[in-house]
Symmetry: C2
Subunit: 319 residues, 2 copies
């Protein structure tokens, strides 16, 4: 188990350290990269040797952070994991560097404490909020580039201030980052307005297949394995559209059915608070949370749909 | 021309007034309704008689504001226009009440000054920011309902903190409103996650017609008059999708062509900063801003497209 430390202690250890290796989680998102990016520039501005390591490539959209990736150019003297909720999220490709993490900075309450010391704020909407507090405490100047990194972490992890994790503090920090020169317009354009061509292609297929049931209280979209392959859609594109049917006005149950390469049907169910998604899926051998659940169905599409809609009808009656 | 007044003067007049009629602009959006809603509750809590007037119905999604609409229940003693940038935006249906406006509270720098007195902050991202400053100056308690109204105005007028009008002050006010009890999660769900069925229908048609040109640097969508009618799409649905083609990764020029009831083609052009949309449209008899312009074309669709793409090619070469 980690030693749980506060900002002051984390700070004194970071300021003493050199040859710092900042480690992101695999499939990196804006928060893990933005948090590492802010620390990278802050430590570099203090004259330290520092680099960023991630098991997967950093998406090109984050190029503005101007990071130096770790390619063995120094022997790490201090390793810091940022926004990595568990050791399994590092990725095997970088296992030699993740066995003995000195410090973990995180905001996931579930963090099991795999690092020697842990700076955790489970109330923070993003790891970047914790990094912001750390830099302010240190009196380190928030340059426009650091502000861009932190704004990226905070805005992406809150769906641009929409998710329930957003707090007054989140907005207060955003205000400070804008004051520090974050390039709001260009960042919001990159982070929130742009959709990949494969995402657009999969949305098109989804909307073509859209069917309403029960007077518009249920909406279902369906993707065949051939359509998914043809669209060049990646998992992230498909995960993204599972909220589409539920987000139509009047819809209480949104269903996404996607055919797997093996031919079975993977079903995602999203509901409004009054309807139990987990109950719908439980009767079909699946499970999940009250508003987001899933199951896998075999047989013909018509049979799968009929079984699903029978469960939906039950759930709508109870809801 | 209006007398230009400051917050203190506006406040003293409002506090002296009674039988206050708060007037929104036609086709009401979250800012005009939210600003009127916040003033409605603040003045009502001070014991005043007050009601809200709008030429068009208030959309059902704003029901949580719990407003009393004006139906002639009192003779107005003081009329206040909120977020109404010009007299033509009131709507003819309420003309008898809009000839002699006592106070206009606005954030549009172009406001011509049609009211007796004008409280204008052209730097504010929303009229609701001006109303917030007014209530704070008055020492009026920001109740959770007032916070909901103001959050609605600010978040909708900034595309949930994404548009270039968003400032540090916008986020600071959002932080205060959350602290005052704004129902962030429920509001964001209502305001930003839900799409109407007609909007979904028009997106489907748009994506089915999507064509890329110039190696994906230009994307075009096309809607026939029959498709628009069949989708039951309103102007607001169609305006909303004009940003769709430009927001695809790699696209520099996004074009929306919609056939008018008369058969002509209304063209909307949206571009990245490096490409001049106004120049594309100017050569076709239209005009507009650098990143958002439009024109109207006659003749066959193929000719219209060819003329447009020729201009796009020119603009891409210069960009």
């Amino acid at each position: 188990m980690s030693e749980i430390i506060d900002i002051t202690t984390a700070l004194s250890r970071l300021l003493k350290a050199d040859r710092v290796l900042l480690i992101c989680h695999k499939n990196p998102d804006g928060d893990t990269i933005g948090s590492a990016g802010a620390l990278y520039h802050a430590l570099k501005n203090l004259g330290k040797t520092v680099a960023v390591l991630c098991a997967d490539p950093i998406p090109a959209r984050y190029a503005y952070m101007d990071l130096t990736l770790y390619t063995g150019q120094f022997t790490p003297g201090y390793t810091v994991a940022v926004d990595v909720a568990g050791i399994q999220l590092f990725g095997d490709a970088i296992a030699e560097y993740t066995k003995d993490i000195d410090l973990c900075i995180d905001h996931h309450p579930s963090n099991p404490g795999y690092a020697r010391s842990l700076l955790l704020d489970g109330e923070a909407a993003a790891a970047a909020e914790v990094v912001y507090e750390l830099l302010v405490k240190a009196g380190i100047e928030i340059t426009p580039t650091i502000a861009d990194c932190l704004y990226t972490g905070i805005s992406t992890d809150t769906g641009c201030f929409k998710f329930s994790s957003t707090t007054a503090r989140t907005h207060e920090i955003a205000a400070k980052l804008i004051g520090a020169g974050a390039h709001l317009v260009s960042l919001n354009g990159i982070l929130f307005e742009s959709k990949s061509r494969s995402r657009i292609a999969i949305e098109r297929i989804a909307l073509e297949s859209l069917e309403y049931s029960f007077d518009g209280r249920c909406a279902t979209i369906f993707l065949t394995k051939e359509q998914i392959a043809q669209a060049g859609a990646e998992t992230i594109d498909i995960e993204g559209i599972t909220s589409l049917p539920r987000n139509i006005e009047g819809v209480e149950v949104g269903i996404t059915i996607r055919q797997q390469p093996t031919g079975s049907y993977k079903v995602s169910v999203r509901t409004v608070p009054s309807v139990d998604a987990a109950a719908i899926c439980a009767h079909l051998g699946g499970g999940g949370h009250r508003q987001a659940a899933g199951c896998e169905l075999l047989g013909s599409l018509d049979n799968a749909k009929a079984a699903l809609l029978a469960e939906v009808e039950q759930a709508l009656c109870k809801g």
